[in-house]
Structure formats: structure tokens, C-alpha cells
């Protein structure tokens, strides 16, 4: 790890001022990706701005139709939240499946969303639940936020403050995870709202998280596994690596999507 200066603002305004004043900055959320990356010398920010003391970025708020989670809320806090479990149990299950306990005890939802790792779990939830990514400057729809592997709509120095999920009538997240890294080889989040069904896939797209419009249209007409009969996703556009090639991933998307629909359809309506 290269040397860096450490900064610890206590509110979002201070953090924004620091990032405007300093050169070569990175925000530090839970550090479960950034710090190992720095230690492997794949990242070398001169200034690290730790958001850990910014109290306004933490916490979970529930209203009738939205569930808002502060950016610095830990995965473990989401997994253990009664509000989350009541409003969107699929999100509880997702948080429980992230990494290992060490990661869940330090990693944050905002860090995960801002990083947009192609195998991370939360981006699928954001897309399927039609989330609003709220920053210190604006609100960005999830559909506009994720822009390819590790790429997002965030401007330089922009800070995610919270993520507001639409509460669905039924939803499920099913993940086929790599047994060692515990990242998703394929993860499918299915969510049914009054205005239709959304299906979002993580872990598989060569361009990161994506939706499957053909499945969404079929499921919006009939929210049942049978609606997916004959629907598959093409291998083109799937990522391919030592763990799973594109053809296998495309097949898995179909399998996992069906399991997710099955789980969502049998969840409480």
C-alpha cells in the first residue's frame, strides 16, 4: 500500500468541501473493496476521505411505499433490520448472502452501489425495485445509474446519501454464488409492483447488471414460472471467465430466474 492522507469529515458538506479542495481523492465507505485494492497497489489515492463518521448517511427509514437506506448502512444492519424484513424480505435475504460475516460487518450499501462491481448483489436489487439513488446533488433513477462494469452516473466527488427502494407486492432474490468468493456467478432479483414486473440480473452481464425485458413482459401478464416457458437469454453479452463461460452463464440466468419467480410468487402478496 502506498502512503496516503486520511480525512474524516463528520457531515456530507465537509466531505464535499474536502473532495473539492484535494487532489486524487477517493471516498472510503466500508473499505471491503477499496482497501484490499489499495493494498494490492491497484489503486493509489493520495487522499482518502472516510465517510464513517457521517451520521446522516446511516439508518433505515420506511414509509408506506418506499424503504430508504442510508449509504453508510452496513450489510449486517440491513440483514438484521425488522423494517427491511417487513417491507422487502427479499432485500433481507440479499444482504444475508453478501460475502461473509466480516464483509457484512463493515461493508456498506452505498459503497457497493457506487462501486458497481459486475458481481455485486445490490445493483440487481436497485434495478428490480426501481430504486432512486439519492446523492448530495440530485436523485438518479437506478435505470440511469448503472453504466457498465464499475461505471456509474456519479460525477467526480458526488456522494450517495441514500437509496430509496419501491416496496414491491412480491419479490425474491436468488443467487448462484461462487463458493470461494461468494460473489454472484448469477443473481436474479424479481420484483412485482402494481405497474409491472422487473427482472434484474447481476454477475453475468459483460456490461454489468441488466434487465431482461422479455421476461418482464411475460411476467407482467402472468406472474408464474410458466410465463417464462420458451424464454431464454442469449450467450452474447454474457461475461466469460475461468469459473463460467458465456453459454453456461446464459443458461444459469434462465434457471435462476425461474427459481426467483417461484420464490417471489410464493412470497406473501
Amino acid at each position: 500500500m502506498y502512503a496516503f492522507e486520511y480525512h474524516r469529515p463528520t457531515d456530507v458538506k465537509q466531505a464535499a468541501e474536502l473532495v473539492a479542495q484535494l487532489e486524487e481523492t477517493k471516498f472510503l465507505a466500508g473499505g471491503q473493496t477499496l482497501l484490499p485494492t489499495m493494498k494490492m497497489r491497484l489503486a493509489a489515492p493520495a487522499n482518502l476521505i472516510d465517510l464513517g463518521q457521517v451520521a446522516e448517511l446511516r439508518g433505515i427509514e420506511r414509509s408506506a411505499d418506499t424503504l430508504s437506506i442510508g449509504a453508510m448502512t452496513l450489510h449486517a444492519e440491513v440483514a438484521n433490520s425488522a423494517d427491511v424484513r417487513t417491507a422487502i424480505p427479499a432485500l433481507t435475504e440479499l444482504a444475508e448472502l453478501i460475502g461473509d460475516p466480516h464483509v457484512r460487518n463493515r461493508g456498506t450499501i452505498g459503497g457497493s452501489v457506487a462501486n458497481n462491481d459486475p458481481a455485486a448483489d445490490y445493483p440487481a436489487a436497485c434495478l428490480a425495485l426501481n430504486a432512486a439513488i439519492v446523492t448530495n446533488k440530485r436523485t438518479i433513477a437506478a435505470d440511469d445509474f448503472f453504466q457498465g462494469i464499475f461505471a456509474t452516473a456519479l460525477d467526480e466527488g458526488e456522494i450517495i446519501t441514500k437509496i430509496s427502494f419501491r416496496v414491491p407486492s412480491q419479490a425474491a432474490y436468488v443467487k448462484f454464488r461462487h463458493p470461494a468468493s461468494r460473489y454472484a456467478l448469477v443473481g436474479v432479483f424479481v420484483a412485482k409492483h402494481a405497474d409491472g414486473v422487473r427482472v434484474a440480473v447481476t454477475g453475468s452481464g459483460a456490461n454489468g447488471v441488466f434487465r431482461v425485458p422479455e421476461m418482464e413482459q411475460a411476467l407482467s401478464r402472468n406472474f408464474a414460472v410458466a410465463a417464462l416457458d420458451g424464454i431464454s437469454v442469449p450467450a452474447e453479452g454474457m461475461s466469460s471467465d475461468i469459473h463460467a463461460d458465456a453459454v453456461y452463464r446464459a443458461h444459469l440466468v434462465g434457471v435462476i430466474a425461474r427459481r426467483a419467480v417461484q420464490a417471489a410468487a410464493s412470497s406473501r402478496a
Partner: protein, 159 residues
């Protein structure tokens, strides 16, 4: 910079750079070498400690973020009720082979039992998934956790 850390119930004043990972402070400055440096990049869990009772990797915990949290290391875990039961079960099951990862394993096991007194196999696998053992002592780790969950007795299914 000067920091005041609460380690194993004692306040330690240390003077280190702000970019020093907590693991280095524990081992090189305070001299508590029971916590191990494994991979250094959050992959193996050998450096597991408790921060306010939660298992975290000290190699990617910054000293700043530790703040006033209660830090507990392997040196003190045996003085806690669950910790002593776990360590005894570890000895009785002869879990350890080379031993390098084991302080991290024990810290994760104690965090598990503090949160879940009677974990299932699935609970154990999930809670221990962040700790790698190159000797492959996993079956004995699971057996020891089950023994500790029963309060250290030899009755029942030892796994």
C-alpha cells in the same frame, strides 16, 4: 498522530500514521502478536478481531475507523464466557494443525456463538466462511463449535 485505543479492556495510547491498518498497530506497536497477518488483503480471515463484538478483518480496518470501539483480540477472548468454552472445545477436539489461521477461526467462532447460541451446520458454514484454513481443519472446527454450543460436553452429535 496520537490515538487512544480500547484493546481488551485497556486503553492504549499509540502514535502512528493515520494510514496504518489496525493489524499493524496491534502487532507491531502494542505487541499483541496473537492476531496473525495472513494475506493482508481481506481474503483469508487470519487477522480477525472483534470490534464491538463483531468479527472484522483488522488488516483492512483503519485505525481511525476503530475510534473508541471496544477491540478484542485472541489474547483476551479466553477471559470471556463463550471464549473460554470455545478454546476448551478447540483443545479437546484437537482442531489445530499448523495453527496459523486458528486465532482468527476462534474469533469468528466466538462471534457466531455470541449471536447464535445453537447454530446449525448451515449457520456455522456461513459464519466461518470468511476464515480460510490451508490445513483443512474445517470438520474439526465445526465439531468444536458444536461442542462449545453444548457448553463443552461430549454428548450428542459431535458432527
Amino acid at each position: 498522530m496520537a490515538y487512544s485505543l480500547n484493546v481488551n479492556g485497556r486503553i492504549h495510547s499509540v502514535d502512528v500514521d493515520a494510514d496504518t491498518p489496525l493489524l499493524w498497530v496491534l502487532r507491531d506497536v502494542i505487541g499483541l502478536t496473537g492476531t496473525k497477518f495472513g494475506c493482508g488483503v481481506a481474503q483469508c480471515g487470519a487477522c480477525t478481531i472483534h470490534l464491538d463484538g463483531h468479527a472484522v478483518r483488522s488488516c483492512v480496518t483503519t485505525i481511525e475507523s476503530a475510534g473508541s470501539s471496544a477491540i478484542m483480540t485472541i489474547e483476551a477472548i479466553g477471559s470471556t464466557p463463550k471464549g473460554s468454552v470455545v478454546q476448551r472445545a478447540w483443545l479437546e477436539e484437537e482442531v489445530v494443525q499448523c495453527g496459523y489461521c486458528q486465532s482468527g477461526q476462534i474469533m469468528s467462532a466466538v462471534a457466531l456463538l455470541n449471536a447464535n447460541a445453537m447454530p446449525s451446520d448451515g449457520d456455522i458454514d456461513d459464519a466461518m466462511s470468511g476464515n480460510i484454513c490451508r490445513c483443512g481443519t474445517y470438520p474439526r472446527i465445526r465439531a468444536a463449535i458444536k461442542k462449545a454450543a453444548r457448553g463443552g460436553s461430549n454428548t450428542g452429535n459431535g458432527g
